[in-house]
Assembly symmetry: C2
DNA sequence: GTTAGATAGTTAGGTGAGCTAATAGTTAGC
DNA sequence: GCTAACTATTAGCTCACCTAACTATCTAAC
């Protein structure tokens, strides 16, 4: 409708404005739903671990694009809360294997679904065409800005094809 | 075309995946361009102050959707770096007036433009139609997830020259 | 006018995400 | 066997967030 000609600069401008706003919304949603408060980053770690269980710390760090020390500290907190389990890898003894505890799985699913629902509630107001418009835009952004190896997360929402 | 039927849940899923990825990209871009390193949040504060100069601390906090103590600490850092100036409001003596210093304006514009350019570079690969698709999606997200008062930032991308 | 309530900003104290640099242990290459 | 590369951790830092509590100021009500 208002789709006049857009320059990359203007589009970049929009990205820089909208993305932080949505980030704040996501953070607030997660906070309001988690009884043991999860951060957005923690949720992403748990979400990743659910589908790539037995990952090494480095693998998770690479996927989420943070340094290993950062991930090490994050895992510390998650282990301390009983959501993640660290175990040694027998074949590679410098590596650790990360996996979700049952509680970690439950917490992750609960918070993820609740957050997803909060976001979906906002989207309810839209028409199917508008939903598709958002979805198409996000898909493009995904190809442009996601780290290549992160695409597994991006693909993961499409098992209903 | 590839726009099959999308459920709100799937769309929410995409949002939760893509938005953090783009956030990371923005953060990395800003970091790489600022000589005095600015954070994404700091850039947003400076960006806002440029077009709403003489704002009070609360006004900025409300716009960026953070608490006053958080904004107070952020302003502390920006003042310490000589980018922002705190002055008393003569008519309301409990209020402070925030404004960019010349250096603050210069730093903001440099970092903002460089970041915008980095983002725009990625967007160059797209067709006009794809650009419009992203733009349209972002516009919708903006109406859904931005705080009402923040819309001024969203409108603001067309005033250079 | 004084007193009660709201409002603006700060301070104190905490959690968590992020970084770099340096370290210990492990594996692999030569 | 020695070195080089890799995995994870520790230490030390900055910054973005939060809540609770405090000061100062303004407003309104009595």
């Amino acid at each position: 409708m208002a789709a006049t000609l857009i320059t990359p600069d203007q589009c970049a401008d929009s990205i820089m404005t909208v993305v932080p706003a949505v980030t704040r919304f996501l953070r607030a949603s997660i906070r309001s739903h988690g009884k043991p408060h999860l951060s957005l980053s923690q949720l992403r770690v748990l979400y990743f671990l659910q589908r790539r269980s037995q990952s090494s710390l480095s693998a998770v760090a690479d996927y989420l694009d943070v340094t290993r020390p950062t991930m090490s500290a994050m895992v510390d907190r998650l282990v301390q809360r009983g959501l993640v389990h660290r175990s040694p890898d027998p074949s590679e003894r410098r590596r650790i294997i990360l996996s979700l505890t049952p509680e970690g799985t439950a917490t992750m699913e609960r918070v993820y679904r609740a957050t997803q629902q909060t976001v979906a509630d906002r989207l309810e107001a839209l028409s199917a065409a508008q939903l598709n418009q958002i979805s198409a835009g996000l898909a493009l952004l995904s190809t442009l800005f996601e780290e290549p190896h992160v695409s597994a997360l991006g693909q993961a929402h499409g098992d209903t094809e």
